[in-house]
């Protein structure tokens, strides 16, 4: 019954193959079916006991990620059907889009279940390959430029983590995750490797100082692609860091990760104030959230639980927000914050959910992200003292204000273009429903805390 654990991977693989076949015209239906099947099989896998063999390493963390990725996948596929069809001047046909999307999900699912840090690297690098062209779905200059920055910065960062993998192999003689997790090597060369891994995978997760690709890519990608990037691609990169730090829990490495996370939160929260485009605003909010999660991973203990809670809650909330930003873009035809006014009149449903989503991603209670932040701050207080905790909280509050002030302005200001709900974008109910469900799930994460805690 070992194959059951790779069922989600097999399903998405099959779906992407079916999408690329030229004679099949049902790429949407295939993808929707595949995503639902993948979600179902992921949930089924979660009920099974942990499984470790020479190729697979499926434990509680993997299961959480499997469910999270598949759940976001369902929403993004459903949203994509309408959204991508409306893009003019596409770089490629719909079936190729779905082929890449399925392949992208496949690489992420693969990354979280392999028991080999070398193959884990291959998986993360393959996500770059599969997702790069998705950013350029809208064939225009800025999108292509953003794609290019994504490819070159992320690949360069991942070369660093490949070196890290080689170092760890040189220090321990094995790449097997389960052996590393059992052995806990602490030699200096492994420590250097772990630090490099944090830097390298951190590039992909949007961690300072190599975060610069992230706002460009998120800002220019079509809404569903931004959603899946922010919601699960960044956490999958963090997942690799979790594995490496879990395998080599060395104090210096953890401190290094803490400060990188801290700087990410600081930079991102300050940058929210200079943003003029709402998608870039949320991209910086993603950097901030990933920074907090990295802090949680580095401090361990309750902080680690908090990090996972934040990752899950952020995934649902941020995907909802990015999907809704697609609706806003469709309604107003502008990416700029200052040009969106009075959204609550024009697209009421989207607008209200949008403002709730903004609250959710910045850690307002009662959403899961609030709980996660509390857990992490408590652990930071224990490890680093009151001063750093206060500074960190200040940055979190700054980001909260920076994001929510702008979103409130977009939604509740009196618009000059005050035409009553023209329903042009709002009439599409399924995307709004997807976003609403995702937001509800973000809320539910709070109550899922005991389950998450048990699985870890």
């Amino acid at each position: 019954m070992e194959w059951i654990y790779i069922l989600p991977v097999l399903i998405t693989g099959g779906a992407s193959l079916l999408c690329i076949l030229p004679f099949l015209k049902f790429e949407e239906d295939i993808s929707v079916a595949a995503s639902i099947l993948a979600l179902a099989s992921s949930i089924y896998v979660a009920t099974l006991p942990d499984h470790v063999n020479a190729f697979m390493h499926v434990d509680g963390l993997s299961k959480i990620f499997l469910i999270m990725i598949s759940a976001i996948y369902v929403g993004v596929v459903i949203f994509s059907i309408d959204y991508i069809a409306h893009i003019e001047n596409k770089l490629f046909q719909m079936n190729f889009y779905f082929f890449l999307l399925n392949l992208f999900v496949l690489t992420m699912l693969f990354t979280v279940i392999v028991d080999n840090i070398g193959l884990m690297w291959v998986g993360v690098e393959a996500t770059t390959l599969a997702s790069a062209l998705l950013i350029a779905t809208e064939n225009e200059e800025a999108a292509i430029e953003a794609t290019w920055r994504y490819i070159i910065i992320v690949s360069a960062g991942l070369v660093v983590s490949l070196i890290a993998t080689i170092f760890i192999y040189a220090g321990t003689g094995t790449l097997s995750l389960s052996k590393l997790l059992a052995a806990h090597p602490t030699s200096q060369i492994v420590a250097v490797g772990a630090i490099l891994a944090v830097v390298g995978y951190g590039t992909k997760a949007g961690i300072f100082p190599m975060h610069t690709w992230l706002p460009d890519a998120h800002g220019r990608a079509p809404a569903p692609v931004s959603a899946i990037f922010s919601a699960v691609l960044l956490p999958v990169a963090l997942f690799s860091i979790v594995r490496i730090i879990g395998a080599a829990p060395i104090l210096g490495v953890q401190d290094f990760a803490f400060w990188l996370g801290f700087l990410s939160v600081a930079i991102a929260s300050l940058m929210t104030f200079s943003q003029r485009q709402y998608k870039r605003l949320f991209a910086y909010s993603s950097i901030e959230n990933m920074g907090i999660a990295l802090i949680g991973i580095s401090v361990g203990g309750y902080g680690f639980v908090g990090a996972i809670v934040i990752i899950v809650a952020h995934a649902f909330a941020k995907s909802a927000t990015f999907l809704l930003s697609g609706n806003v873009l469709a309604a107003y035809k502008t990416p700029f914050i200052s040009e969106v006014k009075g959204a609550y009149k024009k697209i009421p449903l989207t607008a209200y959910l949008f403002s709730i989503g903004a609250l959710a991603v910045t850690g307002a209670p009662p959403f899961g992200s609030f709980l996660g932040e509390l857990l992490i701050l408590a652990q930071v207080l224990k490890s680093f003292g009151i001063v750093w905790t206060v500074v960190l909280s200040t940055f979190i509050v700054i980001a909260f204000l920076g994001v929510n002030y702008r979103v409130a302005r977009m939604v509740f200001s009196e618009g000059s273009s005050g035409s009553e709900s023209d329903g042009d974008a709002d009439h599409v109910k399924s995307p709004v429903a997807v976003a609403a469900i995702n937001l509800a799930l973000a809320l539910l994460t709070t109550f899922a805390l005991p389950v998450i805690y048990k699985m870890l």
Binding site: L91, G118, V122, A136, E141, I144, L162, A170, Q188
Partner: protein, 214 residues
């Protein structure tokens, strides 16, 4: 010191000097050719090392280096240039040429410092200093240029450095190695597509992306 190690260091420093030369050049065609020369030199070294040690692994490395990065990728990149290849050049480097040359040197020195602080006590030879330096130089090449091909060459230099690491450290399992090669080829192919699209779009207008500010 083992004579092969001496040759390794010789090669390493020649590669470093070649990266400096790339940093000096503004014409894309020169950059591509210099990279090609560097790859062939490395392939020659791996060939010699493989013949001496009689390890198939290193011979494979030599073959892959020569074919993929000495021949195929440079050829592919030259093809993506427009007809008049000699005209193609960096119009507006992010950093001035003289300062970027010095910057590249500083990164090489930084690489040596990182090596001597973190790794030296655990190594029997100083070989590992070279690939670290080369890697940082590659990263710096990416930062200091805005030309797509120069940036891709920077990435490939980092990759060359990684192969030089591969020589020092024990071989990785085959499946991982194969995955790496496939990934890297994929990256170059995707980059090729993007380069084409990008050159087209840059022809039409200015290359200032106000939308990507902030």
């Amino acid at each position: 010191m083992h004579s092969l190690d001496s040759i390794y260091l010789l090669l390493g420093f020649v590669e470093i000097a070649l990266v400096i030369f790339i940093q000096w050049q503004l014409y894309t065609i020169n950059i591509i050719r210099t990279f090609s020369i560097g790859s062939f030199l490395m392939a020659a070294f791996f060939l010699v090392a493989g013949l001496v040690s009689k390890e198939v692994y290193i011979l494979t490395l030599a073959f892959l280096t020569a074919v993929a990065r000495g021949w195929f990728i440079p050829r592919f990149l030259v093809k993506t240039l427009k007809r008049e290849t000699w005209r193609e050049r960096e119009v507006k480097p992010v950093l001035g040429v003289a300062s970027s040359i010095i910057g590249s040197l500083l990164f090489a020195i930084l690489g040596y410092l990182i090596y001597s602080l973190a790794l030296q006590p655990y190594m029997s030879t100083n070989l590992a200093a070279v690939p670290i330096a080369l890697m940082l130089q590659g990263a710096f090449l990416i930062i200091s240029r805005s030309n797509t091909i120069a940036q891709l060459i920077g990435y490939l230099v980092m990759e060359n450095a990684m192969y030089m690491f591969g020589y020092i450290f024990p071989e990785l399992p085959f499946i991982v190695e194969a995955g790496i090669v496939l990934d890297v080829l994929g990256i170059v192919m995707i980059s090729g597509i993007i380069i084409r699209l990008r050159e087209d779009s840059l022809q039409n207008g200015d290359s200032e992306f106000n939308e990507l500010r902030g």
